[in-house]
Each structure stands twice: as C-alpha cells, then as structure tokens.
Symmetry: C2
DNA sequence: CTGAAAGCGCTTACAG
DNA sequence: CTGAAAGCGCTTACAG
C-alpha cells in the first residue's frame, strides 16, 4: 500500500549533518542558529520533502491541534456558513477542524466533555443551543476545557463569546412591518430549546409595545426552525378568517415554509400578506418572492469565536466578547398593508 | 486553565496493581487476561475516568485516526449531505472527520498530497471534481496514500469508488420531458471541470437520439452549478422568441435560478415552460413551483465511500465499486407541452 | 497468562 | 551557538 515512507526529523538531521535539536530549532524559528546551519537544514528539509509529524508534536506538547465545532442545526446554509467562518480563520494554521454535529444538544449534554476528550480536541467552538446550555457550560468550565461561544443569549460571564443583538434585530424587523402599516402581525417562533427564540420574541414584543399596538397572543405559533414547521405554522396562521396581514418568522427556513403555505392556499405574498424572516440564509434569495430578512453575521461570529479559541490556546490576548452588527435586508416579501376591504 | 489533569495508562496500572501492558491488553480486548485482572483494570479505568490518549496511540501506530473529506462545491445542501453520510458511518468509530473545502480543486491539485500529509490524515474521501482529477488521483496512487472516490465518471480503475449512473439518470429525466410532449428542450450545463456535466449531457443527447429528436445546440447554455449562473442561463434561454418549452438544468440550484428568471420575466412555470433539475437537494422543495428532479444518492455515496476507506485502513475486505440507484422525483415544475398557439 | 524493554517522532529542559 | 538526554502515552515485539 504505502510507497516510500515519510522522512523524519532524524533523516533530516543526518542529511544536514546536524543534531535533531538543531533541525527542530530551525523549523520552529528559534533564534541562535548559525545562518550556515539554517541553510543546510532547509536544504535537507526540501530535498527530503520533510513535513513534521503533527501527531508527534502533539504528544510532547500535550495537544492535538484539533479544534471542534459543535452544532445542532437543521439548516444546511447556516451550518456551512459556520464552518466556513471557522475554517477561514484556521487557514494557514496548524489547527484542523473536526465537525461535531449532534442530533440533540440536550441528549449529549451530560457527555459533552467525554466526547471532546475522546476525540482529543484542544478546544471547541460551541454554537446555539450548545452555547447556551447550562450543563455543558458548567462542565466545560469546571474541567478547564477551552471553549468559545457563538451567539449566546444567556450567562454572559461564562467564557468568551461572539454575539449579535437578537433583541434589537427582531425589534428592527418588527418596526419595519409596523412602518408598512401592519398591526395584526403573526409570529412563528423557533425551536424553544434555542434561546434566540426567546430573544427574538422579546424584541418583537418590544417594538409592538413602543408603537402602542396591543399584543395578539393568538397570532403566535410555535415552529422548530425547519422549513416544514414553517409550512405548518404558516398554514395555521393563514387559514383563519381573521388572519394577520404580516407574519414574522424567526428564521428564513420557516419564512420560506410560510410562503409556500401561502402559495398553496392561493394567498398572494406580499399583496395579501407580508412574510419576513431572519438569518439571510440562501433560501431567502431563492424563494418567490425573495425574503425580506435580517442578515445575521453567522460567518463573522464563527470566525471570531475561532479566533478567540486559537488565541486562548496559543496564550495570546483576545477580547472576550465581540458583537457583530446585524442588518435589515429589504427584498420583496413584505409590502404595505392593504387598505381595508 | 486546566483542572485536574487526565489519567494516563500508568495511573490506571498502578491503581489496578498491574503493568501498563495488562491495561493495554484489557482495553484492546486482547485475549489471555485473567478475569480477575480484567475486572480490576475495568474498575480502575472507571474510577479514574480514564480515556486512552488517541494521539499517543496514533504515534505508535503511525496513524492519526483522522479522515479527510475534500470537496469544492457551491451548494450547502450537497455539502451537508456529503458530511452527514461520512459522519454517520464514522459514528462509534475512533476515526474523526476533518473537513477540507477547497476553493478550486484545480488550484490545489499539485499540493493535495502535501496538504493531506501536513494535516496528518490517515486517508481521504474525494468528491467531485477532485474524485476525477487525473493529477490528484495519480499523485495519491503513486504515494500509496489511502483514498476513496465519490461519484467519479472517469478512470474507473484508480481506487475504489461509489457511483450513481449519471448518464442513465439524465437520460431518464430527458425521456420524461419527451413523454410530456417537449421537443425543444433547453439544457443548462454545470461547471465544465466537473465531469458529471459531460455525463449528463451525454444522457440528454442519448434520450433525444432515441426519440429521433434533432439536437438544438443553440439551446445549450453553460452554467456553473450555482444559483446565480442558473438565473443568467435561464434568462438567456427564456428571453429569445423561439424559446424552449422545457429546460433541463444539470442541478437543482441552477433549476431554481432558471425558475426565478422565469418569474422575473413573467413566464409561468410549468404553464409556459417546464423546468427540471438534478440532485433533489433542499432547494427543490422550497421553490415555487417545487422542482421535478433526479434524486442523487449523495448521502449514500458518501457513506459507502467512507465505509470503504475505513475497511481499507483497518485491512478488512470491501467491494471496490458500489453503485447506488437514482430516482426520478416528479414534483410540479414540469408539465405537458402547451398546444401550439 | 503477565510484564520489562524498546521505540513511535518530536520538544522540553539542561549542559557545555 | 549546539547537542545529548529524557520523556510525552501509548503499542509492538520479546521473554518468561
């Protein structure tokens, strides 16, 4: 199976006529090596096509140079953005990224530390809802396992985190709908185990309160952040005779589902009903009409969280809390409320 | 930072009153250990919460228990399915998955081996177009680096692979359109560096030939497998006065883009034009109308390819070639050709 | 059935 | 400025 086997530091040392320690020094850019020897080592490295064995480096350094990314998310677009943010930060570093999707964060909460240790990870980036899970946070903190958090909404003191302001974002979106003349606004909530659902509900309520619009609790439906749950919740909301003139879905997948429900019921979007989302994920650009939404800086948050984790492991300074701005993206799925019939 | 440090095999051995070799034997289920000692070791393992250090195991075994997944794909849905297929196979194994997205396979072709080695991977699952790239295949084969291939269309003898029949699948889809009465069928090709594009073109031509329909080369447009390229190609195809009555896009993202182009031009789908895709990715279920497409067994192929790779590394037998069936999924984006106006 | 020794490929501390 | 020694935490031979 294997061809010529890989050169080791011993091979390089003997080819260069120096000790392995000198080779090590040159490779790690340590000072105090004569230029002449440096050159010899570099030449030997090149001609032998030598690459240090990360596993051996890891053993002596008691580290694996492996970082984990934990997520439980039904949206491929979200997941891929998360991964790219992390990966882009790791480009050129010795660290590699191991992906750890979990079916249900609640189910693995008790074994998180064991899981991370058995995979020999040096640290982990936690994303919602793991980044908000008290048991996981407690276990990791207590054991001293390095971690950073993406988009938490609770326990701001436990570990470094990157955030965006979910409350203000939901508030901004709701204000936009109110400005368009809507007063009967439906809400499709996300998975209740994700605390962002609460934060966005809070922002929604806040904007309503500011405008003096009485809350319509009967227009709040439970979804799960999935497309299908959006279809169902949308149908429930649109099938009633006192249906809302606008619907705010707490993510784009559900907004897309609600739009599909409207299509299926023969209700025009945004003519008869405005439907908006949250995330600015790919689906928002491919539905008809395209979805007015909040751009959530998923890529940026993942990248920053990874950056913090690397800094932590490399014992370099870093800001323990970074907030990335959101942005209201106006597309075609929301319009002014129709004049009363 | 770190709390109590992890127990090592030495700790377990002294707690159990045996040698580290005996601990090693018990952990690896080697025979010839007295029941009594086995129990002692297990108890010590449990009470110390011992987990073997994979890095140390890797160093002596000259392996890292790290597998790579290489892809260059613009579609998040495709990528996530690929990852889940691989990950699900690895569940419960010691192997972990490192994701290796590349901007352009062609760009990294010369450094693939170096990349894999520097990441200390034991093996890699190659996906299109890397799984078809002669330089990469040659380099890996020559060096003896373990790899398996997902959905290659060329060089069937180089390494184990999992496939689906792209030619027959494209043929089946084209036949379906022909049965609906279409004769002027447009084609949006995918990224030319992916050989699946050629295979699907071939299947398309074959079905046309069988039905005795003369080819309309002017109705073939180049896309890149991205949504935006589908919008553009769709617009070019639909903006002409002798526009086709049906369009076959070589993947769902482009089909979705073409549908959007139709919407923007005020052309009804499928009333005025039928538009079909390929892949059965998430986008096919969320556009309006939902897309008639070919279900490509991406998950299954990734899973099988990972299975083969693990078998190869563990020196167990495996089938070097597995074909997974495709399936025609009829939704609402294609219908009968309109009677001539 | 059990264990002492050697070694995987590096880096950390220590001498000179 | 350079190197010999020790050791990271395991497994692979090899003895008994």
């Amino acid at each position: 199976m294997s061809g010529k086997k890989r050169a080791t530091i011993v091979d390089v040392a003997s080819a260069a006529g120096v000790s392995i320690k000198t080779v090590s020094r040159v490779l790690n850019n340590e000072p105090h090596v004569r230029k002449e020897l440096q050159d010899k080592v570099r030449r030997a490295t090149k001609s032998l096509n030598y690459q240090p064995n990360v596993v051996a480096q890891g053993l002596v350094g008691r580290r694996s140079y492996l970082l984990g990314l934990v997520y439980e998310n039904p949206s491929p677009n979200y997941v891929v953005e998360l991964q790219h943010g992390a990966l882009d930060r790791l480009h050129g570093e010795r660290y590699r990224l191991v992906v750890l999707p979990v079916e249900s964060v609640a189910d693995v909460a008790g074994n998180m530390l064991a899981l991370l240790r058995s995979a020999a990870l040096d640290g982990v980036v936690l994303t919602p809802p793991a980044s908000d899970h008290p048991k996981i946070l407690e276990e990791l903190r207590e054991s001293g396992f390095p971690f950073t958090r993406v988009a938490p909404t609770r326990f701001p003191d436990i570990g470094p985190s990157t955030t965006t302001d979910d409350v203000e974002a939901a508030c901004a979106m709701t204000r936009y709908l109110i400005e368009l003349g809507h007063r009967d606004i439906g809400l499709i909530k996300g998975d209740p185990t994700h605390s962002a659902s609460e934060a966005r509900l809070f922002g929604f309520s806040k904007a309503l309160g500011e405008a003096g619009i009485p809350p319509r609790l009967d227009l709040i439906e439970q979804g799960m952040f999935t497309y299908d749950s959006g279809v169902e919740a949308g149908r429930r909301l649109l099938d009633r005779k006192d249906r809302p003139t606008a619907i705010f879905a707490q993510n784009d997948d559900m907004a897309g589902g609600a739009i599909m429900a409207a299509h299926d019921l023969g209700i025009d979007v945004p003519g008869d009903v405005s439907i908006v989302g949250f995330d600015d994920s790919q689906i928002a650009k491919v539905t008809w009409p395209r979805i007015t939404t909040i751009h959530q800086p998923v890529y940026d948050m993942a990248r920053s969280a990874t950056d913090m984790l690397v800094a932590m492991l490399d014992k370099k300074p870093y800001l323990p809390m970074v907030e990335h701005p959101f942005e209201l993206i106006v597309r075609q799925s929301a319009g002014p409320r129709r004049a009363e019939p």
